[in-house]
């Protein structure tokens, strides 16, 4: 990890009408680190990612991503970052190779370099034998692997991953974990991961922020957070912080 900061937000807020999606987010993420943003559904994680990746305008506040201002330097942010959206739109009528070529070309890549990278990534993902099949015939797990490959294809400095392991089996999740750790360590790539898979976050992330109803109410390493609330693991800590712990005595009360 180098000393510079890849994400710096000051009072970042977003309202959708009367709904407060994000409220005064103050955050710093070091270059080469793996940051995890946890939170329940509707907490504002995806909103935060979209603002920081230059896709959504904030209501107030400011942020710098890879040293670029999110208001005036969106193009530069997009050049330096990669994004795996929560519900990505694959081109079902393209093969995996063609889709990766398409994404590479959008990022001004072409030729031998692009072709070599695509071949290597497809082999790494275990999809080399299906690489010329149309994506419409892929399972959701296979599609997610292709999408992860598309996100890192152009070697971005900072990668936004929104629910990267949601459709993956344990082996594939482990592979994505390894890729993240290798890129962060070897290439100083920063990762900003939105997830509600606490075990994944606990394994991979160096720093975790817990977002609830648009407010970042916890920030620290997984160990610090666990110790802070006296939990045995991150899942328990998370449930204590955001609520949602189950009252077993009321589990079957709906039957009366």
């Amino acid at each position: 990890m180098s000393g510079s900061i890849d994400i710096q937000t000051v009072g970042l807020s977003k309202n959708f009408g009367s709904v407060v999606a994000l409220s005064n987010l103050d955050l710093e993420v070091q270059r080469g680190s793996v940051f995890g943003l946890l939170g329940p559904n509707g907490a504002g994680k995806t909103t935060a990612v979209r603002i920081l990746s230059g896709l959504l305008k904030q209501t107030s506040g400011n942020a710098k991503v890879c040293g670029f201002d999110i208001d005036s330097q969106r193009r530069e942010i997009k050049s330096a970052t990669g994004l795996l959206p929560e519900t990505p739109g694959l081109y079902s009528k393209l093969s995996a190779v063609e889709f990766l070529e398409f994404i590479g070309a959008l990022n001004d890549m072409s030729g031998e370099l692009l072709n070599r990278r695509i071949d290597s990534l497809m082999e790494l993902m275990g999809l080399d034998e299906r690489q010329n099949d149309l994506l419409e015939s892929y399972s959701s797990g296979m599609k997610q692997k292709v999408l992860v490959a598309s996100t890192v294809l152009h070697e971005p400095q900072l990668v936004f991953l929104d629910e990267p392991t949601s459709r993956l089996d344990p082996a594939a999740s482990a592979l994505v974990k390894e890729i993240i750790e290798a890129m962060a360590k070897e290439m100083d790539t920063t990762f900003f991961i939105c997830t509600h898979m606490t075990d994944f976050a606990e394994d991979v992330c160096e720093t975790i922020g817990i977002l609830n109803e648009g407010i970042l109410n916890t920030l620290g390493s997984p160990r610090d957070i666990i110790d802070q609330v006296g939990a045995k693991d991150l899942e328990e800590a998370y449930l204590k912080i955001v609520g949602g712990q189950v009252d077993r005595s009321k589990l079957l009360s709906w039957r009366d």
């Binding site: 990505p88 009528k93 063609e98 072409s110 419409e136 015939s137």
Partner: protein, 529 residues
């Protein structure tokens, strides 16, 4: 509120049927009293009735199928079936769900169709009741048949991106698949009837219904019509038609009942049945990459591949080309008797009109296909495109240039057909090709700009899609009309055909380019909500 609105609409429909339409029709028919229209009505009402019922039957059969195929949603079926709802209940429930809206259409349309006859023939109340009941019965049975067909197709295709694609392609061709044989039947009915020994139209349910209505008029008329006169025309008695119609309807219901379980036993759909593996790129696409080297070429080629692999896009384009080919053929046939003996200027004008219509048809179909529904598949895809630097501009440029390449054969084929039909010289043929191509490119730019400004993606049932389609069609027609007027003024000043074609096609390109630039700029902006 909904109950009040529903009751009000139905109440208005009854007033419409019992008072408004009869009074209007009486006034209209009074104007024709003593004219040949009366004689025409008396002699031709059985044929008229068959034509009207054919139209109604096709509408109630085709439109629900075409509409339902625009998006397959069988995920909801799985939820219902897993909750112990019987397949027959589902089939019947889906039919009942369609009855109100189509019923309203029938309630408002039937009086307009039947009232002229009831007034002219002074049909008694009992006869009118039978007529109206027949129409409602046929409408319901056709809707039931349509529902059965739709359900079977949807279940077979399954809910997957491939299934949806096939369904959308089918929704385009289902109309042609039914209409073309019908039109063929009309043209060849005499010879087929001679071969079969019976009136070919007697095998169709809409004929039986139409004839029941005709018999109601004949039996319950107040102007002294004799039933014996019409037996030769109608061939079957009223009872015979009724028996056939009832038997057909009961058969359809029985078929639906026994096959409901099989219909709703859907699989995973085409996704698991067929895996398409892509071969090596063909020379044409490789050639494009050589001409446009680097990332732009890759984007354009992949954009062309993605577009042409979707059946719905290809079927829409083929439909447009077929219509564009048919226009000069049919109009040449229809104009034949007009053109003979007419001054040369009139003949030239007629030919020009045909070419203009050809261009407009290609422009509309291409605009809506390339620039509308085929422009961008989903919001999720847009996020991916927008996440790269200048992603939207690069993507849109690739899409547009890819479209310009695909339009070439679409402009050439109908133009060559028109050239053969009207005997154009090579130069004139080239002019028509350039005009068709140029105006079609303009239409694609225009429609792409409109879509980029208000993306509807591939949801053809969304309000955004309907708005975009309406705006695109009106804009295309408006610009074409203004260009035509300008072109005619030019022609009156100087008879330069080249200049005329240029004036006719250039405004579309210019306005299209402006709308495109504005649309893409707006699409590139970050979302604010």
């Amino acid at each position: 509120m909904r109950k009040v609105a529903s009751i009000s609409i139905v109440g208005f429909g009854i007033i419409w049927a019992l008072f408004i339409v009869p009074n209007i029709m009486e006034l209209v028919l009074a104007g024709f009293e003593g004219t040949g229209i009366y004689v025409l009505l008396m002699l031709s009402f059985p044929s008229l009735m068959r034509s009207v019922m054919l139209f109604l039957w096709i509408m109630l059969l085709i439109y629900p199928i075409s509409y339902a195929l625009q998006e397959i949603r069988i995920g909801q079926w799985e939820i219902m079936l897993s909750n112990n709802v019987s397949t027959w209940d589902m089939m019947f429930g889906m039919f009942m769900g369609k009855v109100p809206i189509y019923g309203l259409f029938i309630l408002f349309a039937t009086p307009v169709i039947l009232t002229p006859f009831t007034i002219f023939f002074q049909v008694s109340i009992l006869g009118q009741i039978i007529m109206y009941l027949t129409v409602f019965f046929v409408a319901l049975s056709t809707l039931f048949l349509s529902n059965l067909i739709t359900t079977a197709i949807q279940a077979k295709l399954g809910e997957s991106s491939r299934g949806n694609d096939i369904a959308k392609a089918l929704s385009m061709v289902v109309a042609l698949a039914l209409l073309l044989p019908m039109y063929g039947l009309m043209f060849f009915s005499d010879s087929m009837s001679a071969i079969l020994g019976i009136d070919i139209f007697l095998i169709f349910p809409f004929t039986w219904a139409a004839d029941i209505i005709s018999w109601s008029i004949i039996i319950f008329n107040g102007i002294g019509l004799s039933a014996a006169l019409f037996l030769d025309i109608l061939k079957l008695t009223a009872l015979g038609d009724l028996v056939l119609l009832l038997t057909f309807t009961l058969l359809v219901v029985f078929l639906a009942y026994v096959s409901a379980d099989r219909i709703f036993s859907f699989g995973a759909g085409p996704r698991t049945e067929k895996i398409t593996t892509i071969g090596e790129e063909n020379r044409f696409l490789k050639g494009i990459k050589q001409v446009y080297s680097g990332p732009p070429g890759v984007l354009m080629v992949n954009s062309i591949k993605e577009f042409t692999r979707k059946m719905q896009n290809v079927s829409r384009l083929i439909y447009g080309v077929i219509i564009a080919i048919i226009i000069p053929v049919i109009l040449n046939y229809a104009m034949g008797s007009i053109a003979e003996g007419a001054p040369p200027e009139v003949q030239s004008l007629l030919v020009m009109l045909v070419i203009i219509m050809l261009g407009m048809m290609l422009a509309m179909i291409s605009g809506i296909t390339f620039g509308g529904v085929g422009f961008l598949e989903s919001k999720d895809q847009l996020w991916i495109i927008k996440s790269s630097p200048n992603g939207v501009r690069k993507f849109a440029k690739a899409r547009i240039f890819g479209s310009f390449i695909l339009i070439i054969p679409m402009a050439i084929i109908p133009s060559i057909v028109a050239a053969i039909v009207f005997g154009f010289t090579i130069l004139e043929t080239l002019m028509v090709i350039v005009y068709a191509y140029w105006s079609t490119c303009g239409a694609v730019l225009l429609c792409a700009g409109i879509t980029a400004n208000n993306p509807a993606y591939e949801d053809q049932k969304s309000s955004a899609f309907i708005v975009n389609t309406m705006v695109s069609l009106f804009a295309l027609m408006g610009i074409s009309l203004i260009s035509l007027m300008a072109g005619i003024m030019i022609m009156m000043a100087s008879t330069d055909l080249v200049l005329f074609m240029l004036v006719l096609s250039t405004p579309m390109i210019v306005i299209g380019a402006i709308v495109y630039v504005i649309g893409v700029a707006r699409m590139s902006r970050p979302d604010s909500k």
